[in-house]
Amino acid sequence: MRALIIDDERLARSEIRRLLEATPDVEVIGEARNADEALEQIDRLRPDLLFLDVQMPGCDGFELLERLDTAPGVIFTTAFDQYALRAFEVSALDYLVKPISPARLAAAVAKATARAPAPTAPESIDPPLRRGQRIFVRDGEHCWFVAIEDIVLIESEGNYARLYFSGHRPVTPRSLNAIGDRLDPALFFRANRRQIINLERIESLAPWPNDGYLVKLAGGLEVEMSRRQARLFHTRARL
């Protein structure tokens, strides 16, 4: 796994690097001191794994993740932060407390390795999100890394979007269009101006006034497909 270390403290970064150098299967490909450096390096180097300090000045680790289209594996680090620790536990996130124990680091890395989506050929610019790739979403203390294929519905909410999955409906600071641009059209379909649905989660379609459809999705969600989109849907279904 190719790892990026993100921490504002030089000694904290060197400590993680030192431990990782003794960990097989992990290669440190870079270090970032703040959110801006991290975003630039994530974009350029495409790491599989982030070691992310949640307490950097100006930007906590969660905010950074919300700005990523897709989250690689993440192992959070913290010295002691009661809010973060609660969020980690409530959301079952992987985290390490500093000073980091080598044994716990090894276990966290093994878990991340097992969970990583299969590597593919070198990617073109901004390819659509593949199955297994995850998006980071936060709702108060609850955080999730949602696999893209588990999202049932995406709904625009002002400049943001609401994601529906597994009974949760958190809002994410990304626009519907920004998300839509990254989605695989084989998996996701725009039902109307405000909503995108996961084709694999359609349970039934019923005719609806104006040549549209009422789409029933997993989890009891209902969405209206506009006439225009319904026509498109038919065309695609025929292919």
């Binding site: 403290e9 000694l11 060197s14 030192r18 000045p57 100006g58 010295a79 500093k98 000073p99």
Partner: protein, 232 residues
């Protein structure tokens, strides 16, 4: 007739002194409760865990890179821990002793924050021996780091100054940053501090926090002589 007045006066003053004694005992008890609570919250709550674990992590990082610096840091850390443990048992210390610990603390934070923390002390000679409540200035400086410096990506500076002014000791802690309204332990720390000041000095001590442009200023003032009638 004179006897009546006399007896009345005696009774009046007896009651009055009894009330004052009772209040003094109550205050002593309250002070003890506060100290006990601080102890209950963990001795380490006086040295906040965030600082402690970050410090240990930095020191561990130094062991290979700069062993001498690591050794010095461990010595400093143990001095700080010892001082903070004693704080719950000793009500006041000379300002000088407290400032020594503040400098030790700042040197440790400088290890981990590097060029992101600069500090200076400007202490009037005649203010050095004045007794002050233990760990009070330390609390202000810790807050300055935790809520000021640590939130600034480019870091900032802390300045501690003290002076005497007609029998009143003034201690000022200034740091780059803003007042961050946070619930929890920090507010509790300040509430606790003000309560200690009230119990030791009544209305003659004060602790004020304000913003001044891009800095935060904490102003502590208290009587330079031990408060009359307070518990020793």
């Amino acid at each position: 007739m004179v006897w009546c007045v006399f007896i009345w006066n005696v009774a009046y003053f007896a009651v009055h002194y009894f009330e004052r004694w009772r209040q003094a005992e109550l205050d002593k008890l309250q002070l003890a409760v506060i100290a006990a609570e601080a102890k209950l919250n963990g001795l380490m709550s006086q040295l906040n865990p965030h600082f402690l674990f970050n410090c240990l992590n930095s020191v561990r990082g130094l062991i290979v890179e700069d062993p001498a610096k690591a050794q010095a840091a461990i010595t400093s850390l143990s001095e700080l821990m010892r001082y903070s443990m004693q704080a719950s048992r000793i009500a006041t210390v000379p300002l000088e002793a407290e400032l020594e610990m503040v400098q030790t603390y700042l040197s440790l934070e400088a290890v981990r924050l590097d060029e992101r923390l600069t500090s200076e002390l400007d202490i009037a000679e005649d203010s050095r021996p004045v007794p002050i409540p233990t760990m009070l200035v330390q609390l202000l400086v810790e807050n300055a780091v935790k809520h000021g410096i640590e939130h600034l990506p480019a870091g900032g500076s802390i300045r501690v100054s003290s002076w005497l002014d007609v029998g009143t000791l003034h201690v000022r802690v200034t740091n780059s940053g803003q007042i961050v309204s946070r619930a929890g332990s920090t507010r509790l720390g300040l509430v606790n501090a003000r309560e200690r000041l009230r119990l030791l000095y009544g209305t003659r001590a004060s602790l004020a926090l304000r913003e001044d442009g891009r800095s935060v200023v904490a102003d502590l003032s208290l009587p330079a002589a031990p408060a009359a009638g307070a518990s020793p």
